[in-house]
């Protein structure tokens, strides 16, 4: 009970250690979602709008990759970035950049798969009208992404929720170094195993608040979408 109270106190008083951990978590996961969106949305649109051999298997694999286990992603990125790995010379292992890379790998399939489904559904609906207006391929993609924007925001938020809550990938490639690569989830894992429940609980509260906020934003985006897409 005492721990609960002081954990809440840490949150309310803006404890500097806690604040820096929360800030790093948000910067890492938001950057990962940004990069994943820049890769995933065009990739999803491309798969949605083109016919090619083996398209079915590609869609199945993409959907399956939504469930990538974070520790496997962490291990793969670790192997790539470790001293003897192909990208070892970049010296990125155990840095925030490495964590962004790992989470980008984790989130890109989620955003690409959801974007593919959303854009393909809209394409089926719009196809005749856009053909009749003789809309070229580039404008076609822009139109579909723009008109699907509310559903796509939901996809981005789903990706962000996944990234900010995962611990397996970033603890492997980031190393949970205090003041450098320690995020909310890695700190909770560490502090709990040390028996330091106060900081762990404080971070847990913040993480829960963030997750609730993400869902609220997803709900608002969906409502806004329904307004136009009734």
């Amino acid at each position: 009970m005492i721990e609960n109270a002081s954990a809440l106190n840490m949150v309310l008083t803006g404890d500097p250690v806690l604040f820096s951990i929360v800030l790093l978590s948000l910067v890492v996961s938001l950057s990962a979602v940004l990069f994943a969106a820049l890769i995933g949305v065009p990739l999803g649109a491309l798969i949605a709008l083109t016919q090619f051999r083996g398209r079915g298997p590609v869609v199945i694999v993409l959907n399956a990759l939504m469930g990538l286990p974070p520790v496997v992603v962490g291990l793969s990125v670790f192997l790539m970035l470790s001293r003897s790995g192909p990208l070892g010379s970049l010296g990125l292992l155990f840095t925030p950049e490495a964590m962004v890379i790992a989470q980008t790998v984790l989130v890109t399939p989620i955003i690409a798969a959801l974007a593919r489904q959303t854009i393909e559904d809209l394409w089926v609906e719009y196809r005749d009208e856009l053909d009749a207006m003789d809309v070229g391929p580039a404008l076609r993609v822009r139109t579909l992404i723009w008109d699907a924007r509310f559903s796509l925001v939901t996809a981005l938020l789903a990706g962000f929720g996944r990234a900010v809550a995962e611990v397996g990938a970033i603890i492997i490639v980031g190393g949970n170094i205090q003041g450098f690569t320690r995020t909310m989830t890695t700190a909770i894992a560490l502090e709990t195993s040390k028996g330091e429940l106060q900081l762990a609980l404080g971070l847990g509260i913040v993480l829960l608040i963030i997750v609730v906020l993400i869902n609220a934003m997803a709900w608002v985006a969906r409502r806004a979408g329904e307004h136009f897409a009734a």
Binding site: Y126, D128, E129, D131, A132, M133, T143, D147, A229
Partner: protein, 242 residues
């Protein structure tokens, strides 16, 4: 109102056009010419090939056999052709956004789009609904918005696929009135309907389709006064043609 010069798309000529899909013949050796003037109305029962005919004439479907020319040429991009589908799809944008999009695609300069949008919306009787999400409109309003969107392309030919099929009499009259106005302004109308009353009200020429074949074509007066074939006589008499 100034009469726009007839586009390079007129006359539209189909030569021995066949459309096959999955082993089924949808259009069967259709040869017909659509010239300038009063509306050309396609009549025929459901499944007679009206929609496919319009899509071929619009250039959305290539004939499996045969050829089609617009103004004597085989490949003419549909810059001056527009089509109103039977169930038009509203873009997930506002009413004005739907028309503005069509204007932008038709390369209308940005500074002209707003007044052109307002002009088109008042032509179809939707002035004042600019900000409304298009998908919140009623069926009849959506049909009129789709008409405004088609006209935004400043077409020389406008194809309409049963635009009044699901509308009540008041909404039907509104659409027919707009179609007549557009026709009077010099746009060639090619419209499919299975409503004989509507065909009588609008037609300059008739193309009568049955099971994918053109049974009769020619001036509407002659067709309605004295149909030359049994099929046409039975269709006009209201018999079920199967």
């Amino acid at each position: 109102m100034s009469i726009p010069a007839l586009g390079p798309d007129i006359p539209i000529r189909l030569f021995e056009v066949e459309v096959l899909a999955g082993g089924v013949t949808i259009l069967n050796r259709v040869s017909v010419s659509i010239g300038a003037g009063a509306p050309t109305i396609l009549i025929g029962a459901n499944g007679s090939g009206k929609t496919t005919f319009l899509r071929v004439a619009m250039g959305l479907i290539r004939p499996s056999v045969g050829s089609i020319t617009w103004g004597g040429r085989e490949t003419v991009p549909p810059a001056r052709r527009a089509i109103l589908f039977q169930r038009p799809v509203m873009l997930r944008r506002s009413v004005a956004g739907n028309v503005g999009y069509a204007l932008a695609v038709a390369s209308v300069p940005r500074d002209q789009r707003e007044w052109r949008t307002d002009e088109l919306l008042s032509l179809v009787g939707l002035a004042g609904l600019q900000a409304r999400p298009a998908r919140r409109l009623s069926g009849g309003e959506q049909q009129r918005l789709a008409l405004a969107r088609a006209l935004a392309r400043n077409p020389s030919v406008l194809f309409l696929d049963e635009p009044t099929a699901n509308l009540d009499p008041a909404a039907t009259r509104a659409i027919e009135h707009i179609v007549q106005e557009v026709s009077a302004s010099g746009v060639k109308i090619v419209m499919a309907t299975h409503d004989l009353g509507e065909a009588r009200r609008l037609a300059g020429d008739i193309i009568f389709l049955h099971r994918g074949s053109v049974i009769e074509s020619g001036p509407a007066d002659a067709f309605f006064a004295a149909p030359a074939t049994d099929d046409a006589r039975r269709f006009l008499a209201g018999e079920l043609l199967i």
